[in-house]
């Protein structure tokens, strides 16, 4: 697979997309948020510095999920009133994209689901149950959050978004789902909790003294 290459319209630095269908990326040098159009890259904004964060994961961290290798190519940092969490955009070696979330070192891996007829945000309540892919999910928490920052490549444009409601669901077998209401049409991600050790992560951040 050839990687799309372009130049930053802002500073001219080379921009390499590691994932062929990335829609948005951030220039590593000038921190411009760039969106891919059919012909070129368009600067749509500028990222502010991300707040200090405790995630051990970073762009280019590599790992394994089952028998697939992945590399972290992007990140969204969300905040809510009880803290923040990271959604790391990872590229699997089969070309699919997935999300590795890290909420205070609780890790979960999820994939976009094409399920239809998703509930509207106003209809969802804690304790409610939904069935997708033959699994029964229970709503565990509804979190109003906002985008705090972004890094690297993303499969969609996020740059003008602010508030978003997330609905987290769990099963009795360690599976997990998120309903993402950042767009008018809700999006569903299905996944499972993963153990840090099982991810066999490499190229992690170092912490002083650890």
């Amino acid at each position: 697979m050839t990687k799309p290459v372009a130049n930053c319209p802002n500073c001219g630095a080379k921009i390499v997309f590691r994932w062929w269908s990335s829609v948005q990326t951030v220039c590593d040098f000038c921190k411009s948020i760039l969106v891919r159009t059919d012909v070129d890259l368009k600067k749509v904004g500028q990222v502010a510095d991300l707040p200090p964060n405790s995630s051990p994961i970073q762009i280019n961290t590599e790992g394994k999920y089952g028998n697939k290798a992945f590399v972290v190519v992007g990140r969204i940092l969300y905040e809510y009133d009880q803290g923040g969490w990271n959604e790391w955009h990872v590229m699997m070696n089969d070309g699919t994209s997935a999300w590795l979330s890290d909420a205070q070192s609780e890790y979960a891996l999820s994939l976009f689901s094409k399920a239809q007829n998703l509930p509207a945000v106003a209809q969802v309540q804690v304790g409610q149950q939904f069935s997708w892919s033959n699994e029964r999910y229970t709503v565990s928490v509804i979190t109003p959050a906002h985008y705090r920052g972004v890094e690297g490549e993303l499969p969609f444009q996020y740059w003008d978004k602010t508030e978003v409601t997330f609905v987290d669901l769990r099963t009795e077998s360690g599976k997990f789902a998120t309903l993402d209401y950042s767009d008018p049409e809700p999006a569903l991600y299905l996944g499972e909790f993963v153990e840090f050790d099982d991810l066999k992560l490499k190229n992690l951040r170092r912490f002083e003294g650890w």
Partner: protein, 447 residues
């Protein structure tokens, strides 16, 4: 990964931060690289917003009259399940049951890669606790049992947990005076706890740890506090499966019975001598002894049974036997008493003794033998008839009885130990063992 990618400069390595308390100026170390929500000033007891660069004061609390000292100091590192953890927070919690306040302690442990874990301590009993990632399920029919990862946890107790002392960092918005409804379900050595604060329910799973293990993990000096009593999820010292012991016992008992039956069938039980004699005091002036006819024992050395029968009633007869080998002169002396008494008293009728007696002489080699019998009897009697039967090669069952007891005694002791342990465990619960249904499954049923 790709050559064309410019090198990532990356943020600087995060390090533990030292800040000053906005209230009293004391140094506050933030050890969790931003994972903490709140941090408590160790000197002025202000609860501060750890997310705020200025550490805004969220709450100030009066320390309890007696200062609470964590047994493991903040900043101590230890290895739990192969991972290094640092103690970053400590809280004392209490609950009031029937007017008595019970205290326990919780330690917040941190690893920048693995996140947060907890240790709890109650009177020398420790638990290694983490937040559940999987939802436990209540079994149909109620809240008395909960399923988690394929195991059934029994409701132990529900309590109102009050936070009354905090120190260090917490990954949630901790406040002194906060109440949570805590419900514990046990499956020793594990405990499943639900903690309900406002509308949010958090499930955690704990595994019992001995003080010694904690001391070793954190390399603490001295000895851990002695555990008091039996804790809700303390593993039973009876590590073996009690049901299994009884199954094994039953198998052995059957084996012994089969062995007994086998030896009984193999035994020749050969009648050697049958004699009826009369003891007459009048006739036996002086020497009352006599010898029986001689008999021959053949085959391998084996048992010889001597049975005595005398129809005594409120009398006794005593027989001095000597089994004498004619060939070698070897003698086996043994005395047998036959006595039988009966009567009637305020408790009703009673009897004592038997009219029959049997004795087995073990390992009698083959050869020619006779018995010498010297009777003595109750002087008030004129005469007593008695019968002597000698049988060669009879099975001996006493050894089986001993073997049976040797197996039965430990099985009973182990069961009793398991029973009393479970009883003291559940006596502390919301379900004290009035009926024994709670302790029907003794611990170790799946270890």
């Amino acid at each position: 990964m790709s050559a064309g990618t410019p090198p990532m400069s990356g943020p600087p390595k995060p390090q533990a931060k030292a800040l000053n308390c906005p209230k009293c100026g004391a140094v506050i170390v933030l050890r969790s690289f931003g994972q903490a929500e709140t941090v408590v000033c160790g000197s002025c007891r202000s609860i501060l917003d750890a997310k705020d660069p200025n550490l805004a004061v969220l709450q100030q609390f009066e320390a309890a009259t007696r200062e609470v000292q964590p047994l493991i100091a903040l900043g101590t590192r230890g290895k739990l399940r192969g991972t290094d953890y640092e103690v970053i927070g400590f809280q004392r919690r209490s609950t009031n049951v029937d007017g008595i306040t019970y205290y326990w302690h919780e330690y917040v442990l941190f690893n920048p890669y693995k996140g947060i874990r907890y240790l709890s301590e109650y009177h020398g009993h420790w638990n290694d606790i983490s937040i559940c990632k999987t939802l436990p399920t209540a079994e149909i029919g109620g809240v008395t049992t909960v399923n988690y990862l394929g195991e059934t946890y029994k409701h132990f107790q529900s309590a109102d947990a009050n936070t009354d002392f905090v120190l260090g960092e917490f990954p949630w918005q901790v406040r002194v005076g906060e109440h949570a409804a805590v419900t514990d379900f046990v499956h020793p050595p594990r405990v499943l706890s639900s903690e309900k604060l406002d509308q949010e329910v958090t499930w955690s799973i704990g595994e019992y740890m001995y003080g010694r293990e904690v001391w070793d993990a954190f390399k603490l000096p001295g000895a851990p506090p002695e555990p008091m009593g039996v804790y809700e999820n303390q593993p039973s010292p009876v590590t073996t499966n009690v049901t299994g012991i009884w199954v094994a016992f039953a198998a052995f008992a059957v084996f012994l019975l089969a062995l007994m039956a086998g030896f009984d069938m193999r035994a020749k039980k050969e009648p050697i001598l049958h004699g009826t004699y009369q003891f007459n005091r009048a006739e036996s002036k002086g020497e009352s002894s006599f010898v029986t006819d001689g008999f021959e024992l053949t085959g391998h050395p084996s048992t010889l049974e001597v049975k005595t029968y005398a129809p005594v009633r409120n009398h006794w007869i005593y027989l001095n036997y000597a089994l004498i080998n004619q060939d070698t002169g070897q003698a086996w002396d043994f005395g047998r008493e036959v006595s039988y008494y009966s009567g009637y008293d305020s408790d009703g009728s009673w009897t004592e003794g038997k009219q029959n007696d049997a004795v087995v002489v073990p390992s009698v080699p083959p050869g020619h033998y006779y018995l010498r019998i010297e009777p003595e009897a109750d002087p008030s009697l004129p005469g007593i008839p008695y019968t002597v039967d000698v049988t060669h090669d009879v099975p001996v069952f006493g050894i089986y009885g001993i073997a049976f007891l040797a197996l039965l005694v430990p099985a009973v002791l182990i069961s009793f130990r398991a029973y009393t342990f479970e009883r003291s465990r559940w006596s502390e619960s919301d379900h004290p063992p009035m009926d024994f249904s709670n302790i029907s499954t003794t611990s170790g049923d799946d270890e």
